[in-house]
């Protein structure tokens, strides 16, 4: 049992306690963070601290699938997001003229945004692939934050939690600040915290399913078990209402 685990933590209530709060933003976040303080106005108004960095915005904004770079630039400015998620791709060798303008423009946009970057290890199926990708990302982006994804299957894109713990352990030892994309399994979460992770990123539902929170009870179990650990619900958010869900006052919301 880690120091992060609250001994004798009470189980959360059976009902999901969710309500919609029209005061909250209507745009769906890629992911949103919660910590343990419940405020009258909701924790979305509360700063959140991730690896010692206090952030006013809980919105983590993805940078993929915008119609144009201008749309992305406008979204970054309008959202007030302080974290942008980014990735690496293979250079299109021999097709450089086709890809270079896009890559250069994207890089300029990132540098001018002033936002903190969170690279990911998307597409990695083993711990070693994820470790190598994280090392490359740190060099290119100049940040030691890494959203660690080790994927268990091409169809489901579910977390391969054994490789995830292995990679998290290795990367933390190298000084990375690891944001592990995981399931809501408490034992895995505990192993990740033991590995040195200070943030957990449980899935709401499998990637791309847009189901919202498939198992809110499991997420509240995590909240109860690790009351001091920021939780960022990462995948499966499909509608604005999924991102705006609030919980009863005893439990910290996942927004």
């Amino acid at each position: 049992m880690t120091q992060n685990h609250r001994e004798g933590a009470a189980l959360p209530p059976d009902d999901d306690g969710g309500t919609l709060d029209p005061r909250q933003a209507s745009d769906p976040p890629t992911a949103a963070a919660s910590n343990t303080r419940a405020m009258d106005n909701g924790p979305q108004d509360d700063p959140v601290t991730l690896y010692g960095v206090e952030l006013r915005s809980r919105l983590l904004l993805g940078t993929a699938r915008y119609p144009s770079p201008a749309h992305l630039e406008d979204a970054v400015a309008a959202s007030g997001a302080e974290i942008l998620t980014v990735s690496l791709r293979r250079e299109a060798i021999g097709l450089a003229a086709q890809s270079e303008g896009e890559a250069t423009g994207f890089w300029r946009l990132l540098r001018s945004s002033g936002a903190r970057l969170l690279p990911n290890t998307a597409g990695c199926f083993t711990a070693q692939e994820a470790i190598t990708t994280a090392q490359m990302a740190r060099e290119v982006f100049g940040v030691d934050w890494i959203k660690l994804e080790v994927i268990g299957g091409e169809d489901t894109l579910h977390p391969e939690v054994f490789g995830l713990v292995e990679a998290a352990t290795a990367l933390t030892a190298e000084g990375f600040k690891v944001f592990p994309y995981t399931t809501a399994d408490l034992s895995v979460a505990e192993r990740l915290l033991e590995a040195g992770c200070e943030v957990l990123m449980p899935w709401g539902a499998p990637i791309g399913t847009a189901r919202g929170l498939a198992d809110p009870y499991a997420l509240r179990m995590m909240r109860a078990a690790f009351p001091e650990t920021p939780l960022i619900v990462d995948a499966g958010i499909g509608r604005p209402s999924h991102g705006r869900r609030r919980w009863s006052s005893e439990w910290t919301p996942f927004c």
Binding site: T30, V86, L88, E91, T104, E129, T132, M136, V140
Partner: protein, 71 residues
């Protein structure tokens, strides 16, 4: 010498990662600046400072990656 470059078979005269990047640029096959790409050889990260000394051999798998949009 034949290597695997980003998953494709590639003929090269380069004997180091740094030389490979120079060769690709000279051929017009790679425009990205050296500080906007990262490299790996046979699954192991090759830091920028090690590229001049990281040798290449027949059949090596080289990865060259750059920033992209993601979520």
């Amino acid at each position: 010498m034949r290597i695997r470059l980003n998953g494709r078979t590639w003929e090269t005269e380069a004997r180091t990662v740094a030389a490979l990047l120079e060769e690709l640029r000279a051929q017009g096959a790679l425009d990205a600046a050296s500080d906007t790409v990262a490299t790996a050889v046979n699954g192991a990260f090759t830091p920028q400072a090690d590229r001049p000394t990281q040798t290449l051999s027949e059949g090596d798998a080289v990865e060259i990656v750059s920033p992209r949009q993601g979520g």
